[in-house]
Symmetry: C2
Subunit: 455 residues, 2 copies
């Protein structure tokens, strides 16, 4: 259903909203996104869900939202799974012992204190692993050596993040002792990339870890040499009891349609290895910076803008699920939802996922983003991990696609730190976001509910 409200005040044209040429320069000059990433990463630090740093981040977000003029600022309680890393070492044993840079995958069980030692069997994919069957896998350490493609849209992550998530379940079912994967990353630094994994329903729960790309190369050469390659893996990681965290929410109440909500989200938690600058300090900074701009008295939006900084995106999506549950009665009034969880790169495209009226909205967004050299594309919006629980309610999604060519160089590794943020790029992104969000809050176009199911 497309409802065009003819009684609304005349729409400012998208072009007028973004003020034509020079928009990027003005956005960069006026954005506070860069400083917001610095503040969050310096003042909270690495902030795995439920950790003391996560609590610092919640406090920081509440303070920051109030400081930039948001209303209804609150922490909505979320219970989160907790997991912590311990000692982690991997060593190729034999005639030439070599230490390999390794990190446990999130949720993995640990090894016994003395570690697990076994011959390594290498496969290029999960399908190749399944095809081996139990015989060659039983008692071995499985090494899944799949390379992540560098792409602008981050699509290379799809295949290899599935490897990360499922390798232990599938290798464990075949009797493997442990699993190591090539890091899901596009870099060649000796900094392994962590990320969430899950066990299946079966009883086998084998330790799972990622090797840095150079170490995966080394292990590959050792396996390819023909003589058996033996690995010793020691992981001290473990699950902790569930604990408290929170979604942090603030609003700019709409001047004309306060009950209609445009949700802009990001996630407040981060992995523990870096300081969570690109993932997702940048996203938090972008949505806070957009809200800061719209919270100025002279800029108040027509619909309500709601900022949600979700808890525990990384290792369970607890915040996303809690939000959808707590707000289920008002999801029908969420006229659009967007998540910033793609780093600090420039926005180059906008995608929409909506029912009737999607095309008109896409056009309006494309016009608003023209000054930022971003274009509307026909591909449906994905919405981001934290928006997934909103899908069944048909909440329309908008993606502001950011350049992710370099994102997976640092993502989930110790290298995810503030120095990786490019001030100009995040300023452009925040400006493009503000222009697009303004269309969503102020346009008389109300997109119809999005169809369920993929894409």
């Amino acid at each position: 259903v497309v409802s065009i409200d003819h009684t609304a005040s005349p729409l400012e044209s998208a072009a007028a909203i973004v003020e034509g040429g020079g928009a990027v320069q003005r956005a960069i000059a006026t954005s506070k996104a860069y400083e917001l990433v610095r503040a969050l990463t310096d003042e909270a630090g690495p902030r795995p869900a439920g950790s003391p740093a996560d609590a610092r981040a919640v406090a920081w977000a509440l303070t920051t939202m109030r400081a930039i003029g948001l209303e209804q600022v609150r922490a909505e309680p979320v219970t989160v799974e907790r997991w912590e890393r311990g000692v982690e070492t991997a060593e190729l044993v034999g005639a030439t012992p070599q230490r390999l840079a390794v990190t446990a995958l999130g949720n993995s069980v640990g090894t016994p204190p003395e570690g697990v030692e076994a011959e390594v069997i290498e496969v290029p994919s999960l399908d190749a692993l399944d095809a081996l069957g139990r015989g060659p896998v039983e008692g071995k350490i499985v090494f899944v050596n799949a390379t992540t493609a560098r792409t602008r849209d981050g699509s290379g992550y799809g295949a290899t993040s599935l490897v990360r998530r499922q390798a232990a379940a599938r290798a464990g079912a075949l009797g493997a002792k442990a699993v190591v994967i090539r890091s899901v990353g596009t870099d060649h630094n000796r900094l392994p990339h962590t990320g969430s994994m899950r066990y299946g329903q079966g009883p086998a729960r084998v330790p799972a870890a990622a090797l840095s790309a150079p170490d995966a190369d080394l292990l590959h050469r050792a396996v390819a040499s023909g003589s058996p390659a033996r690995l010793r893996l020691v992981l001290g990681c473990k699950a902790l009891p569930e604990g408290p965290s929170a979604n942090v929410v603030g609003e700019v109440i709409g001047s004309e349609r306060p009950d209609e909500i445009v949700l802009i989200g990001a996630h407040l938690d981060s992995w523990d290895l870096g300081t969570g600058a690109i993932d997702d300090g940048a996203g938090c900074a972008i949505v806070l910076d957009v809200a800061r701009q719209l919270a100025r008295p002279e800029a108040r939006p027509r619909r309500t803008l709601r900022v949600v900084l979700f808890a525990n995106e990384e290792n369970g999506l607890s915040g996303a699920k809690a939000y959808a549950e707590a707000h289920k009665a008002e999801l029908a009034r969420h006229t659009a939802a967007l998540e910033a969880d793609a780093g600090a790169g420039r926005v180059y495209a906008v995608r929409v996922r909506a029912g009737e009226g999607a095309e008109a909205l896409r056009s309006a967004l494309g016009a608003a983003l023209g000054p930022f050299s971003a274009v509307a594309v026909a591909e449906a919006a994905n919405g981001g991990a934290d928006l997934r629980p909103l899908r069944p309610a048909g909440v329309p999604f908008v993606d502001l696609a950011q350049d992710m060519h370099e994102y997976f160089d640092h993502h989930h590794s110790a290298n995810d730190t503030f120095d990786k943020i490019d001030r100009d790029a995040i300023g452009q992104a925040a400006g493009a976001w503000a222009a697009a969000v303004r269309v969503l809050t102020d346009s008389p176009l109300t997109p119809g509910r999005a169809p369920e199911g993929p894409p």
Copy 2:
């Protein structure tokens, strides 16, 4: 003294030696340097002087020299200082604890097991430290935050490697509890760079470590924030008793002037964090590849080519000193010496340090290197650290300058691994080396002894 031997067989022209255009492509196609780096780094691994891996490297070098047809292959014993790393952590303590990526500097004493904790005082240079005097420094952890410039010739290393070497001695003399420096490197990875440091004559021996660049930035912001920044540093490193190692030496005996020696060297040891691919697996590979080419029966040089893979360049220059001492009687017959210790980048220039005849030699080398797009420059050759003890004997030096723009991104860090080697670049370098060495072994030009003293 320039001796031109008119009885020698007509000199092949430099142009003929390198066969004109296509030389680079042929060099890349036929070089084994890339495979040699792989073999050393995979089969020996990280090889600090006197370690088991160092002994593996010595065995590898002996085997490899014999396999490529060198003569007089031997291990010349060297006693080396030994030092080993232990646990190493650094943490910013206070309201926002942050773990910092840190590594001990070579030769540093450790801290007590519980670490050293103190307020941090930051200075941009050693001069600024000295200027402070004892008052503000006593009882503090000194942070020297000096940035290494990225340059083609590696010259940015001069200033900051001096900081690395001397900071502990100078801060200790002023009563500091410990020293941390910004890593001597040009990257922004969370991988600190180690390297040798030395204490002065005084009794104060304070622990010294390097922070990765992103962590140095973080500490800088903490200090700049105005509230005192406190650091806790735990280093388990310690000196070990001296132990045995060796210079590995092999030769291609000259066909006409076997007593005249052209020395091409590199160092076999490496730091422990990476696998010593660029420092100095690449150098070992280049000189071995040059020797392999000249060892072919149809290619035998007129003078003797001697390959020396020095022990313990990184932390004491024991091999270099032992070589100069053991061979002092024949240093007068060393007509040239070159060291490959600048990574795996392309050769872009040649420098000479010699007495009479230097200019003619420079011209001949420039002609030989023309097909490799490298040029002779007037600047005097430096010779490399392992050649320093040969200076008093006036041994002429030749430098084949390699592109070092990226060298200090990885040097002395865990990132110094085989994947950083560019096959084409090291192939070009090995080809240029071979062309230049051929001039030195076969030209009737014998450069006069080099003057003592700088440069």
